[in-house]
């Protein structure tokens, strides 16, 4: 096992690294997650509606986008955006490049969740909405989407929590987020085990807190379900 001296050193590194890790978590990991998820949800909703639309070209564009994003690794997509695009003259800073990559990913995966939720709403709900004279848009907005939202909260929350963890990939395109800070500390202290475990614990902390809020939102929306 560790000698006393070694233990002492490790404790010292862990406590020294704790605040910088937490700080990057709060200042970078969380904003990166929230911004990408919010933008991604808007994109997901538009994509789901495009895929459900009767306008063929919209179907194709949306289907193509989802196919590309789901069929290729997120890591590769981030590399294309950050390292690849500059060679055709498009240079994007690390943080916005990460936001773009994660937004595209969230948009594609969650559009399938939203589409499934909309399609799972009973046909009778559309008919009831139409029977009182609603248009497609009105039925969607007032009747279908509120019900689809309820159905899609659990899978959307899962995807949100995955995103918290996936943001660690941003380290590979030089975004100084929590994981990259752990890497930097490792490089100077040569204590990878404890530092990466410390980072893992912080990710666990963030995703647990976020799961807790997920539960609260679900309970709020449950009030009309038997």
């Amino acid at each position: 096992m560790f000698t006393d001296e070694r233990s002492q050193r490790i404790l010292e590194i862990m406590s020294n690294a704790f605040w910088p890790l937490l700080k990057e978590g709060i200042e970078t990991t969380i904003p990166l997650t929230l911004i990408s998820f919010a933008l991604g949800l808007v994109l997901a909703m538009l994509t789901a509606l495009a895929r459900l639309s009767s306008i063929k070209p919209l179907n194709w564009i949306a289907g193509f986008y989802v196919w590309i994003i789901r069929g290729t690794p997120l890591l590769v997509q981030l590399f294309i955006i950050f390292y690849g695009l500059p060679s055709i003259g498009v240079t994007i800073d690390p943080f916005p490049a990460a936001v773009i990559g994660f937004t595209l990913s969230v948009g594609a995966y969650n559009s399938e969740i939203i589409r499934a939720a909309i399609q799972s709403t009973p046909k009778g709900q559309w008919e009831a909405a139409y029977s009182i004279g609603m248009t497609y848009r009105q039925a969607l907005r007032r009747v279908i989407i509120p019900q689809a939202t309820r159905v899609s909260i659990p899978p959307l929350s899962n995807s949100f929590i995955s995103l918290v963890k996936d943001t660690s990939l941003a380290a590979t395109i030089t975004v100084t987020e929590m994981f990259r800070v752990a890497q930097q500390w490792t490089a100077t202290t040569y204590e990878p085990l404890v530092l990466y475990i410390e980072a893992a614990v912080l990710y666990l902390f963030f995703s647990t807190v976020l799961s807790y809020f997920q539960g609260r939102i679900e309970r709020r929306l449950d009030r009309y379900v038997a």
């Binding site: 009973p122 248009t135 009309y224």
Partner: protein, 250 residues
């Protein structure tokens, strides 16, 4: 109020309605009966364009539409016609995320653009009429089937329809709840509402209908006042159908 001329409906190869001619006078109640699969629901859904007829003419409350296969309807025509009709569904189809009151207010606010206060006043009056004013703030899942269906009737009425369409409004209900819904429907009929009702409740047909229409295999076989059609059916097919039904509630 409603005129159908040579109305046809095909689902791909399936020819479900085969030339329906029907007229419904203002203020009357028409009951449609017929075997399962004969096209009753399809006919009713053609009246508010939940199904688009393949061929023929539909005239309803002054709106006239000609159907030819392959021809697309204009959205504005569809909406205009639907605003003249209200529909009550077998499975109620209340909006589960809204209270009874909100269900009845929804169309008034979203479609008719009434003010919230006006919509609420009207919704409360209608809920009162169907005996559910004290349940106004309950969600559908907190209501019995009979209560849900009465909310469904109030929701349809809130749009001031010229015609109310009912598709087997009581067949999903426990027998002891059927009466309360039929009672509300009878009151509407007595108030002079124009109604078209698909139902297996022969007692209701006798009691409330001005006209009973028997349809089989997509054609109207026979129609007439309930007394005539039930006591002196002219067609063999009608007789057979009524005999088979004999065991139930006739």
């Amino acid at each position: 109020m409603i005129q159908l001329h040579n109305l046809h409906k095909r689902f791909h190869d399936l020819h479900v309605l085969r030339g329906i001619d029907l007229s419904v006078e203002e203020g009357t109640t028409t009951v449609i009966i017929g075997p399962s699969g004969s096209g009753k629901t399809t006919l009713l859904r053609c009246l508010n364009l939940l199904e688009v007829p393949s061929e023929g003419t539909l005239e309803l409350a002054g709106h006239r539409l000609d159907f030819r296969s392959g021809q697309k309807l204009r959205q504005t025509d569809v909406i205009a016609l639907r605003q003249q009709t209200g529909m009550v569904f077998q499975s109620y189809n209340l909006f589960p995320h809204m209270t009874a009151l909100q269900n009845v207010m929804e169309g008034q606010i979203t479609v008719q653009k009434r003010s919230k206060d006006a919509a609420q006043d009207k919704a409360l009056k209608l809920l009162d009429k169907v005996g559910l004013r004290e349940r106004a703030d309950m969600y559908p899942h907190q209501l019995s089937g009979g209560q849900q269906q009465r909310v469904g009737i109030a929701r349809a009425m809130a749009m001031d329809p010229k015609v109310l369409l009912f598709d087997e409004p009581t067949s999903a209900l426990d027998p002891e709840l059927v009466g309360e819904v039929l009672k509300v429907m009878k009151e509407l009929a007595d108030d002079g509402m124009t109604m078209v009702v698909v139902t297996h409740e022969m007692a209701f047909a006798r009691d409330a209908a001005d006209r009973v229409v028997f349809i089989d295999q997509g054609v109207i076989v026979e129609q007439g006042p309930p007394g005539d059609l039930f006591e002196r059916p002219q067609q063999e097919r009608t007789r057979q159908f009524l005999n088979r039904l004999g065991g139930r509630s006739v």
